[in-house]
């Protein structure tokens, strides 16, 4: 997917989120580090363009809640977790991530959110759903569904980190 394709997908996602979140004034977007944060910003912008609402956004780093870190080796850099003012109690939280794959990242995000409070409702919006779930987790809003061959990878690029906007399908090596 090139930049325009991504922008269109985000546009569709914005529509879906607005539709699902009954009361947008109590809607909070939380992007998952790293690229989910930028996508959440893009999504918030898309929603603002649609209905003029400036949404509260925040970022969530789930490193400390991962279930696959107990190995010898370098530790991932932990990003800043920052919830919007007013917290998440009683609000509708929409978690935003770039790729939904095994579902473990989202599981970690849900665990972390539970330590922050109790949203009245939690939604999941992802740019790419590539299937391959290992947990019973589904996205409420999907930008694009993609079939990935064995061993392949989906790489999402965002301007802040990668210099451009897009989605690449990387095939398995050799």
């Amino acid at each position: 997917m090139d930049a325009p394709a991504v922008e269109q997908a985000v546009s569709r996602m914005a529509d879906d989120v607005v539709r699902l979140a009954a009361d947008a004034t109590e809607l909070v977007l939380l992007g998952i580090h790293r690229r989910g944060v930028q996508l959440a910003a893009l999504l918030a912008e898309g929603i603002r363009a649609r209905c003029g609402l400036a949404l509260a956004t925040g970022s969530l780093d789930i490193t400390l809640y991962r279930d696959d870190l107990m190995v010898v080796g370098p530790r991932p850099v932990v990003g800043q977790t920052r919830l919007p003012a007013g917290g998440i109690d009683g609000r509708t939280v929409c978690i935003v991530d770039d790729v939904l794959y095994t579902g473990r990242t989202v599981r970690a995000a849900l665990d972390e959110l539970a330590d922050f409070g109790r949203p009245s409702r939690t939604l999941l919006a992802v740019l790419v759903d590539r299937g391959g779930r290992e947990l019973p987790i589904q996205a409420d809003v999907v930008g694009e569904r993609v079939d990935v061959p064995q061993g392949g990878r989906v790489e999402v690029m965002v301007p802040e980190i990668d210099g451009s906007l897009g989605v690449d399908l990387v095939e398995a090596a050799g």
Binding site: R34, Y65, V71, G73, R75, V77, T81, E112, D115
Partner: protein, 320 residues
């Protein structure tokens, strides 16, 4: 996640700052920075070390450091056990070797050790597979204190590089001073010390550190003062004639601080001897960041717990 950013590894143990690189120290500080908010959450806990056991083996009394480590460990989700021995009835040497063997046999993941003998942290680290964190070994190093001092300085004065930091007091007997000197120099600060020559280590100049013989000169020069606790025993052992004289000549007093050409930041590792090395109105005054040091201490210790390389060797878990 493609291109995951990773931190440099710290190796199995944290024994001192002397052997850390600039990248390693920066990684600890940056990680501590992101961990600060965990202590502000409604649930002050993350599950990172859930199921792991950390033993705090404190052979030297210290409530504040031990409690700070306990908070850090619990906030990272670990189970903690604290052993305190006063050491008076037990031969120190036997205890250390036997402690190492017992800890190994109990499959402890991490040990935080404080001991009165220099080199005891390395002694333990060399003999057990668990990760060892030095919480102060004799006069050698107190790396987490050095790190939280660095973080606090960075919070208030920005990048350490080029900053002028003076460590005031009994440098000779101070592990906090040594850790500070190594950490500050590694990050590019200019480091000086100030105090009577009797309390300065031989060859301190060889560490790249200037000695100010008067506190006024030090305050005139420094952006930051780290004021060390002066112990009563030094007077009894003849290093200084009296605490009163020490305060008169070397004390960080309000008058001296206000005469400084710039807004000097004041740190102290605690506990303070008010009226000896530092006056109360300085310790409680606007230049002092002593309480922030304590807050940063928990975040820094959490960061160290996070960054020490993975599980112990006998664990053998594979990733999923």
């Amino acid at each position: 996640m493609a291109q995951e950013l990773v931190n440099p590894t710290l190796g199995k143990d944290l024994v001192g700052l002397e052997e850390l690189t600039r990248e390693q120290i920066t990684a600890i500080l940056d990680t501590a920075e992101t961990f600060k908010e965990i202590s502000e959450r409604p649930v002050r806990k993350v599950p990172f070390l859930r199921g792991r056991t950390v033993v705090n083996a404190f052979f030297e009394n210290s409530t504040r450091t031990r409690v700070s480590f306990e908070f850090a460990e619990k906030r990272m989700g670990a189970d903690t056990v604290s052993i305190s021995t006063s050491g008076s009835s037990v031969q120190k040497g036997e205890t250390l070797v036997d402690t190492a063997r017992n800890l190994e046999a109990m499959r402890i993941d991490m040990v935080v050790i404080r001991h009165a003998s220099s080199g005891s942290a390395k002694f333990l680290a060399d003999r057990i597979e668990s990760h060892v964190i030095n919480a102060g070994d004799g006069k050698h190093e107190h790396p987490t204190q050095g790190l939280l001092d660095l973080l606090t300085i960075r919070d208030h004065r920005g990048p350490i590089e080029g900053l002028k930091v003076c460590i005031c007091g009994d440098v000779l007997h101070s592990r906090v001073a040594r850790s500070n000197i190594h950490g500050l120099k590694r990050l590019g600060a200019e480091v000086a010390v100030c105090g009577p020559l009797t309390l300065m280590p031989a060859d301190v100049a060889e560490l790249g550190v200037h000695w100010f013989r008067r506190i006024e000169e030090a305050i005139e020069w420094a952006d930051v003062l780290n004021v060390l606790r002066l112990q009563l025993e030094r007077m009894k052992a003849g290093f200084i004639p009296s605490l009163r004289e020490y305060n008169r000549i070397f004390g960080v007093t309000r008058a001296r601080v206000e005469a400084a050409p710039r807004d000097v930041l004041i740190l102290h590792p605690g506990p303070m001897n008010r009226g000896v090395e530092i006056d109360s109105d300085v310790a409680d005054g606007p230049h002092s960041v002593i309480l922030q040091q304590v807050t940063n201490g928990v975040a820094v210790r959490m960061a160290v717990l996070y960054l020490l390389a993975g599980g112990p060797a006998h664990d053998g878990e594979a990733s999923t």
